[in-house]
Symmetry: C2
Subunit: 416 residues, 2 copies
């Protein structure tokens, strides 16, 4: 977990404000939930491996008996009643179930907030990190995917990801994957395990995937290889299959993907990726992944999770979402020109009285200038450079005789 | 802890943006720290009663032995290595100690962030709530107080607290309280206990305070009463004492208060309140409390805490801060006129194709209009009212034949 110093914090807030504004323009509404959720809810099987990475908050009224019982049973989680959320999807499902009556029939949510995972520290991974999620709850058709992809693409473009720096959105559908697994004759119980292997196709190639599936007892090489070869060949130009769809292609899902492709703006750079899997077990239809040419890992992802809200509400409600990984994004964004031009540092000597400084500062602020005070140090050149770096490109010296801001001689730092 | 629905979330973000902008104009810089701090740091005696209210985060690698040991020793906190912060002051002190070399000599920080306290649920108190803190580290003189008070008063004014709705800032100095306690002959060990009693003067009057101090064995009524009467008489018009300061008045502290009063803008409505105490033990000089005519409790508070940074850094650094309680503030703020005038809902029938809807929506967004889609429901009147309440005051019906946004007939909801 990290501290953010002023320059980095300002940069983060600037990037977040662009994402927030773009999502809002696209008709999404921001909500907020508490950072902790009930422990039971976080461990209900909806978080996959992330559940194991969640931080548990201890009950406040523990008794000696509770500790002894947990020591005996080994159920240490019995000592916790709350936990820090590991994603924004489980809280959203709980939120929607609690507030459905107060929300529109189709609810388009924005959540921009931190989540926590107790991962082993490694480069580019943090234990507290911000996610930017949009979700559409209550829309069963591909209009949801179209709106999610369009808003995400617009955010990325607003952040400057254009031209050779543009990101792409990979798309697939779990129904296509399910149909392939069925065609391969792999039993339902092994579905998730087979997907994990198919997902490795980029890395180990079709022969590697075939070998692994055979080793897992999930089929014979002679059956697996041709289908997986066909799948692999789709990855590049998989959009034009409908003339002669292969037997293992789920045509309904494929038609939805084409409808989505036809409706989204070109700026989305949508790529059909039939071997895209995504880790979470709750996906039921489309799945997405946001890729960027300069990154070996994804900038975000999501998909359709029609069964999940029902886990909290009792009745199924269709839902789909797309999450941007803010920490990865913010490192790639190049900020526009310095917005701090209208900021001034008043550099004063020890003999200037506080009321005088306060009056000068107030006068400048009232005229719309961001103003800070800095007592002059011995190495004034270094001090001015530090002020410029801190967002104050202009300065003026204040003398004990200065009584009005009009007497101040404003100079650009670096041009003294 | 609460969920925030779209209307309330938008209101909160709007209020926060005004506070953030005002503090920044006044030369403060925003920073951010993780929501969890080391458990040892949260229980180092700097949080007063709040330490007992902190949420503890369980260690991830607990063993059976750890549980048995804690069960035996009763030190349940040994099972936790982290905790949710209960204020923003302890994290700031830790932050400053970690990053001093990267920060300016006088550092003016903004922190706008949630804190957590496991309080018993009661009206107007939440377990997760946002604080807006500004602090100045490295400035020993009253200039720090002047800047803190001026920026806070400017924020409150920007939020609309003016005229009969204006807030006041009460000020006192711990040195004045210490001198009084010394004059009363109360021993150092009973200093904090005596302050708690003196703090009740608004409620129980001077006779009540005298009675309680006598019961605590802290003096005789004959000595206590005249001094406490003098103190109480200051509360209304305590600014004009220097001509003949009473013997129990710390004149240095009092001169600083006068310098602060003379330097801050009239909009601050500063009131000298010599019986103001503030709960935290770490205050060493000035103390503040923000009061509002419609509230029985304070909107915020703060003071000078010169010894605290030294606890983390090893060397003392002067510091003072002022914290606004955002949850109380946001309930009092009246928002300006609806900012959503430029938002439109496209109300469509089921026969309109998704790509057509997506194209119309994109066209409107590109022209600068916030746009949402709403499938027409049976009770269209109710639906339109809900859309207006959700921030879309205008709408247009989309037919299967509509191909361009120019064909849309925009109407105000309520004026159909």
């Amino acid at each position: 977990m990290r501290d953010f110093l002023p320059a980095e914090k300002a940069r983060r807030e600037h990037v977040l404000s662009i994402i927030r504004r773009t999502f809002r323009e696209h008709g999404f509404d921001e909500i907020e939930t508490p950072v902790v959720e009930d422990s039971d809810r976080l461990h209900a099987g909806l978080g996959g491996d992330n559940e194991k990475l969640s931080y548990a908050v201890m009950k406040r009224d523990l008794k000696q008996d509770d500790l002894q019982e947990a020591a005996t049973s080994g159920d240490y989680l019995d000592l916790a009643d709350l936990g820090l959320r590991f994603d924004l999807t489980v809280p959203l499902a709980r939120f929607y179930a609690s507030h459905r009556a107060e929300l529109p029939g189709v609810f388009r949510s924005i959540q921009i907030a931190p989540v926590w995972r107790a991962e082993r520290p490694q480069k580019g991974r943090y234990r507290q990190f911000v996610q930017c999620d949009i979700d559409i709850i209550g829309e069963a058709g591909p209009l949801a995917e179209i709106e999610l992809i369009t808003a995400t693409a617009a955010s990325l473009e607003a952040l400057g990801f254009r031209g050779t720096n543009a990101s792409t959105i990979r798309i697939n559908d779990r129904r296509i994957l399910r149909r392939i697994v069925e065609t391969l004759g792999i039993p339902d119980a092994s579905y998730e395990r087979a997907l994990i292997t198919i997902d490795k196709e980029d890395k180990i190639g079709v022969p590697g995937v075939v070998k692994e599936l055979v080793e897992q007892g999930l089929g014979e090489a002679a059956t697996l290889a041709p289908i997986l070869d066909g799948l692999s060949q789709l990855a590049g130009d998989g959009w034009e299959l409908l003339d002669a769809p292969p037997a293992w292609l789920d045509v309904d899902a494929y038609r939805d993907l084409l409808a989505i492709r036809d409706a989204v703006d070109d700026s989305a750079r949508l790529v059909f990726s039939p071997n895209l899997v995504r880790g979470m077990g709750y996906y039921t239809g489309t799945i997405f992944e946001v890729a960027h040419p300069s990154l070996p890992y994804s900038l975000g992802g999501g998909g359709r999770y029609d069964g999940m809200i029902g886990r909290f509400l009792g009745t199924d409600v269709p839902a789909a979402g797309l999450s941007l990984g803010f920490e990865r994004l913010v490192e790639l964004v190049e900020l526009p020109e310095d917005e701090a031009a209208n900021a001034v540092a008043l550099v004063y000597d020890a003999d200037v009285a506080p009321p005088q400084l306060a009056a000068l500062k107030s006068e400048l602020i009232a005229s719309g200038v961001r103003t800070t005070l800095a007592r002059r140090t011995k190495n004034t050149t270094a001090q001015l450079e530090q002020l410029a770096a801190a967002g104050y490109p202009r300065f003026a010296f204040v003398a004990a005789t200065t009584v009005s801001a009009r007497e101040l001689e404003m100079r650009n730092i670096g041009a003294q």
